[in-house]
Each structure stands twice: as C-alpha cells, then as structure tokens.
C-alpha cells in the first residue's frame, strides 16, 4: 500500500507522466479504432431494423454514446479539478484542460446527431425538450471553461480558476437538469436503464456498448495525446524537455 501511494505521486510529476502517456495513447487509439469498427458494423449491418423507426434509428449508435461521453467527461474534469485542489498537483490542471475540447466535441456531436435523428422521427430539427436543452447548456459550460482558461495567461492561475469553474459547473449540472426537466419534456425515456434493464434487442445493446467503449478509449487517447503537448509547452524551460525535443 505504502509503495502504491509513492508510485501514484511519482506519476503525478509531468516529467514521469510524459513518457507513460506517450506509450499509452497509441494503445487506446488503436483500441478505439477496433471497437468503433466492430460496433459500427454490428450497428449498421447486423442489428435488426426497428419496427417503429425504420433504418433511421441507427444513428442511436453514435448519438447515445456521445451523449454519455459528454457528461462523463465533464465529471472527469470535475474529478481532476478536485484532485488539483486537494493535492495541488500540476498534472491535474493539465488533465482538466486536456479533457475539455474532447468533451465539447462530444457534446456538439450529440446535439448534431440528435437533430439529424429528430428530423425524421419528430419532424423537427430541434425541440425545447429537457434533455436537449440541458445538453445545450452543458455545451455552454464547456465553452465557458475553454474561454476562461484561454483568456488567462498565467497557466497556474488558468488551471485553478478553470478548476473552480468546473467544480461549480458540476454542482450545477444536476440542478440545471432537473429544472429543465420539470420545465418541459418530450424526449423518449432512457433506452438503457440500470434498474429496468434494457428495452432493446441484444445486438443493438452490444453495438451501443461497443461504441460507448470506443468513445471511452478515444477520449482517453485524445486526453493523453493533448496532455503531452501541454506538458511540453508548460515545461519548455526544463532540461528534460529540451533533451526530449532535441
């Protein structure tokens, strides 16, 4: 246990995390590619046609995992921000910043595929429904975080201010979700629920889970790849960086 704890903090140093991230991100990227290929094949060619929604429902295999990821990444950012405030490690702030663009991308993807799905099913690109609206607000929160951190020149201050914003946002996300939910709702109920089991065919569920895992692996790969860039930029005056670059 004692040894494990020492190892954790050793990895928290950017210098020792940089090579590990460099070895891990290609693995996760390859995993993401394989999982996405299998998931898309299952989803687009093997899964049966829905008797109500026809072929159009197949966008679910991108839409639902993207929505999950958009929320999970915000939670991950809040987690890293919390670690940063607790242990005052530099790497935590870098990880928070490295995750934000991927999270914003998935939020946008979720909104976009949702609009594409909504048009044939509901007959409209957009409705002011609870889940759509809260996803849009989540997108605003990501944009606010990115704008704040990029407006502050001092990287340490940007980390800490951004971390506080991520935590405040994470506290607000459930409040926003429920306030918008009570305000109006039209969206279909959750397709996969922990308590009730799933309302879908087995192959559909498998395809969706594979896609979710692919998006997980992609997010991890992107975060590690981006954090390497951030580490190099922040530590550019350190001797080890000049050795690595040279």
């Amino acid at each position: 246990m004692e040894q494990l704890r020492i190892r954790w903090f050793q990895w928290a140093a950017p210098q020792s995390f940089y090579p590990i991230a460099g070895r891990l991100w290609p693995l996760f990227a390859a995993l993401a590619a394989v999982l996405a290929l299998v998931g898309l094949y299952l989803g687009f060619f093997v899964a049966p046609t829905d008797f109500q929604q026809g072929e159009g429902y197949r966008i679910i295999f991108v839409h639902v995992p993207a929505s999950w990821m958009s929320m999970i990444i915000y939670l991950a950012m809040a987690f890293w921000a919390f670690l940063g405030f607790t242990f005052n490690t530099r790497l935590s702030g870098m990880m928070t910043q490295a995750l934000a663009p991927t999270g914003a991308m998935f939020t946008f993807l979720s909104l976009w595929t949702g609009a594409l799905w909504g048009k044939p099913m509901w007959g409209t690109w957009w409705v002011w429904d609870a889940r759509l609206t809260s996803e849009l607000i989540l997108f605003f929160l990501y944009m606010g975080y990115i704008a704040l951190t990029s407006a502050i020149d001092d990287p340490r201050r940007a980390d800490r201010a951004g971390g506080l914003l991520a935590l405040v946002g994470a506290v607000n996300v459930p409040i926003i979700y429920f306030s918008v939910k009570w305000w109006n709702t039209l969206h279909q109920g959750a397709s996969v629920s922990v308590t009730k089991g799933s309302s879908m065919a087995q192959t559909m569920l498998w395809a969706m889970l594979l896609m979710a895992l692919a998006f997980w692996a992609y997010s991890i790969a992107m975060a590690l790849y981006r954090v390497r860039g951030i580490i190099l930029q922040r530590e550019r005056h350190a001797r080890w960086v000049q050795e690595v670059v040279a």
């Binding site: 929160l141 704008a147 704040l148 340490r156 201050r157 405040v168 306030s179």
Partner: protein, 221 residues
C-alpha cells in the same frame, strides 16, 4: 458581524457617491422591457403571455451588467488585497459585498417591476408573485454572479467572458422565477416554484461566498 456591516456600509456609501452607476442598470432594465412591446406588437393578450419571461430576462441582464463593478475597483486600488489579508474571514466580507450589490441592483429592479408589469397588463395577484419571485431571485443571481466576477477578475475581455460563464448558471433561477409567475397566471399556484427558488437562494447564499473567496484568492495570487 461587525466586519460584515463595515464592508456593507462602505460599499453602499461608495455607490451612493456615484449614483449614476446604480441608476444605469435600473434604466437598462426599463429600456429593455420597453423594447419588446415595440418589437412584438401591442396586443395585450400576447404581452401578458410573454411578460414574465421578458421581465425576468431583463432583470437577469441588468444584474449581470453591474457585476463587473463588484470586485474590479477594489482589485485595482488594492483594497481587495487588504480584505484578503485581514483577520475577518474572506467569505464574510464577500457576502457583505454581494449583499451591497443586491441592495444596489437587485432591490431597485424588484421594486420597479410592478410598474413595468402594469405596462404589460398583469393583474394584481400576478404582480405580487412577480415581485416575490424577483425578491428571492435577484439575490440568488447576485450570489451566483459573484463567483463569475471573481473568476474573471483582471482577465482580458473579462466583461464578455463573465456573461458567458454566468448566464448558463442563471438558468435554474430563470426557469423557476418566471415559472412562478406563469403558474400564477394559469391558476396553478406559485408556491412550489417559490419554495424551490428559496431553497436555491439558501444554497447559493451558503456556498456562493465560500467559492467566491477561493476564486478571489486565485486572482490575487
């Protein structure tokens, strides 16, 4: 407590020496509320329907407008640093500053709202609910906005950034604030909305100054 009163008194006194700044936000509220009937048309039925939303959004924007001055003058002349160094806990001083901000921006807006509600043709009880929702909602806006104001202190393009950070966090207040008025209009009763607004105000009043103090210490580092 004495520190709280001292900061409150100081901020009120400073603001009253420069009345124009306080009045600007109030007039902004009036002007924005006047624009909508001109843009949408004078049908009383439509105006009555959109009034809660417009008055609430107007109050939100007006409160946002004065947030930039909450910490910035003290930050520039160094008195904020002295507050951070003083023996009194920083969250208490922040709470005093936020209270002063509300007394100077939120309260005048709230007191003015029945007059604007009259222009939109709201009846007496609905006007009362609007007054009540703004009375609970505007301090909530001040507490949430203060965190954003502290985060953007001394940052390039801080004012625009502030609105980007704060407006999404204002949404629950907007939903339940204007929802209370609409519920009253449609005869559903406003008590549920007002209770939730009150709960959110208590939460923000407790956690807001604390988060705000953390943000100020980051800015002052």
């Amino acid at each position: 407590m004495s520190a709280f009163m001292a900061v409150l008194q100081r901020d009120l006194q400073l603001a009253l020496r420069r009345k124009s700044e306080v009045l600007t936000a109030v007039f902004f509220f009036v002007v924005v509320a006047t624009l909508f009937p001109l843009a949408i048309g004078p049908e009383p039925e439509t105006l009555r329907k959109i009034a809660p939303g417009i008055l609430w959004v107007g109050a939100m924007l007006a409160s946002l407008l004065s947030l930039g001055r909450l910490f910035a003058p003290d930050y520039h002349d160094g008195s904020l640093e002295q507050m951070a160094l003083s023996q009194a806990p920083l969250p208490v001083l922040v709470a005093a500053k936020v209270t002063a901000h509300w007394l100077l921006s939120g309260l005048p807006l709230t007191l003015l709202s029945p007059l604007l509600a009259l222009q939109f043709g709201l009846d007496g009880p609905t006007m009362g609910v609007l007054l009540l929702s703004l009375l609970l909602g505007t301090p909530l806006l001040s507490f949430i906005g203060a965190v954003g104001a502290a985060l953007t202190l001394g940052v390039r393009g801080g004012e625009v950034l502030l609105s980007l950070l704060v407006l999404p966090l204002y949404i629950p207040a907007l939903v339940f604030g204007s929802g209370a008025v609409e519920a009253q209009q449609s005869g559903l009763g406003y008590s549920a909305h007002v209770s939730i607004l009150m709960a959110m105000l208590l939460m923000a009043g407790f956690f807001g100054p604390w988060a705000c103090a953390v943000a100020l210490r980051i800015a002052l580092e």
